[in-house]
């Protein structure tokens, strides 16, 4: 069976969302964040998106992935196109994660929902 660990389950915004997790394996694992994004009003047209950053207890980045989409305000929030990220960490150790907008111009609020999952 799969070894799978949920970091966020339809967690409402606004971003950033921070948390911790205990790594379950020393094997390489993949992780993904899904949700929606849009640019704030009165900002330039451009990309919107969400990223997830994994850090160790020293603050060093140990994993990263993101999802992006056309952030044009007209049309509203859109589901981001999320790619899996890949890393390997130490089993049993606790790590931090932060889900945040890819740019400060990206909006988020309590009506946005985010899911983040690790698949070992």
């Amino acid at each position: 069976m799969a070894l799978v660990q949920q970091l966020l389950d339809q967690h409402p915004g606004p971003l950033p969302i921070k948390g911790t997790f205990q790594c379950l394996s020393t094997e390489v694992f993949d992780f993904i964040v899904t949700g929606v994004s849009v640019r704030k009003p009165n900002t330039a047209l451009g990309v919107a998106g969400v990223e997830i950053i994994l850090t160790d207890n020293t603050g060093k980045q140990v994993g990263y992935t993101s999802g992006t989409i056309d952030g044009t305000l007209m049309g509203g929030r859109r589901a981001i196109i999320s790619q899996f990220g890949q890393t390997s960490l130490n089993a049993g150790e606790t790590y931090n994660f932060e889900v945040r907008p890819v740019y400060p111009e990206c909006a988020s609020d309590g009506k946005d929902f985010y899911t983040a999952t690790i698949i070992y």
Partner: protein, 224 residues
């Protein structure tokens, strides 16, 4: 489960072709997520996914607003006869009104299924709720995947849920920006606890106001 990222790109034109190397002969399943733009008219837009020249599936969505980027309903499809070595993946326009806009994206991932049992993948279209049967071959945790589209008359938070034996086991929600306009919800990968038994499994809506029709499509996957 071994997972291999094979591409993640800003999709500037169609067709898009890339080479990738499969790392195992095990059963393999391709996950593709993309966004595209409708050219001048409302209608179905999306990408056909080809490997080594064979169309495996299409990832589509109904676009009500021309010239507006839309994420398609992401998909997982079995790769026939997986073999170690170099292969070619192509994304091509599903319909004549499909084009790429200035900010469209696509990514692809391969899941290698080490176990001999096939995953459960159910792709369908039309109004939800819809249900089918699924027989779990074992007990324990699996990865549940859900993707789909819908629309709503008046924008409000709404979503799709996976129902197993009458219980909601997963959901994806969002606040759509436009009323009466089809939209793809964020796909989700979440854990699900299984027993070795037959399940009733299906897709429903999280609120009664949410609507769907023959232009909407869905996919549930359970990967072991």
């Amino acid at each position: 489960m071994d997972i291999q990222e094979i591409f993640s790109v800003q999709l500037t034109r169609l067709p898009y072709t890339t080479k990738f190397k499969m790392i195992s002969n095990a059963q393999a399943f391709l996950y593709v997520a993309a966004s595209v733009t409708a050219r001048g008219a409302a209608g179905l837009i999306g990408v056909n996914v080809k490997i080594d020249g064979t169309v495996l599936a299409a990832s589509v969505v109904y676009a009500n607003e021309p010239a507006s980027s839309r994420p398609t309903v992401a998909m997982i499809v079995k790769i026939p006869n997986p073999t170690v070595g170099e292969h070619e993946l192509t994304l091509e326009a599903t319909t004549q009104i499909t084009m790429t806009g200035p900010l469209d994206y696509a990514c692809g991932t391969i899941f290698y299924q080490g176990m001999s049992v096939d995953p459960f993948i159910w792709r369908f279209s039309g109004k939800v709720p819809q249900y089918t049967k699924f027989k779990s071959p074992m007990s324990g945790k699996a990865v549940l995947y859900l993707a789909g589209s819908a629309y709503i008359k008046t924008p409000q938070v709404c979503g799709l849920s996976v129902v197993m034996d009458g219980n909601v086991v997963a959901k994806t929600q969002m606040l759509p920006g436009i009323g009466n306009s089809h939209f793809a919800l964020p796909p989700i990968f979440v854990p699900v606890q299984l027993k070795p038994k037959m399940y009733d499994i299906g897709v429903s809506t999280t609120i009664g106001e949410m609507l769907s029709d023959d232009n909407d499509n869905y996919e549930i996957g359970i990967l072991f």
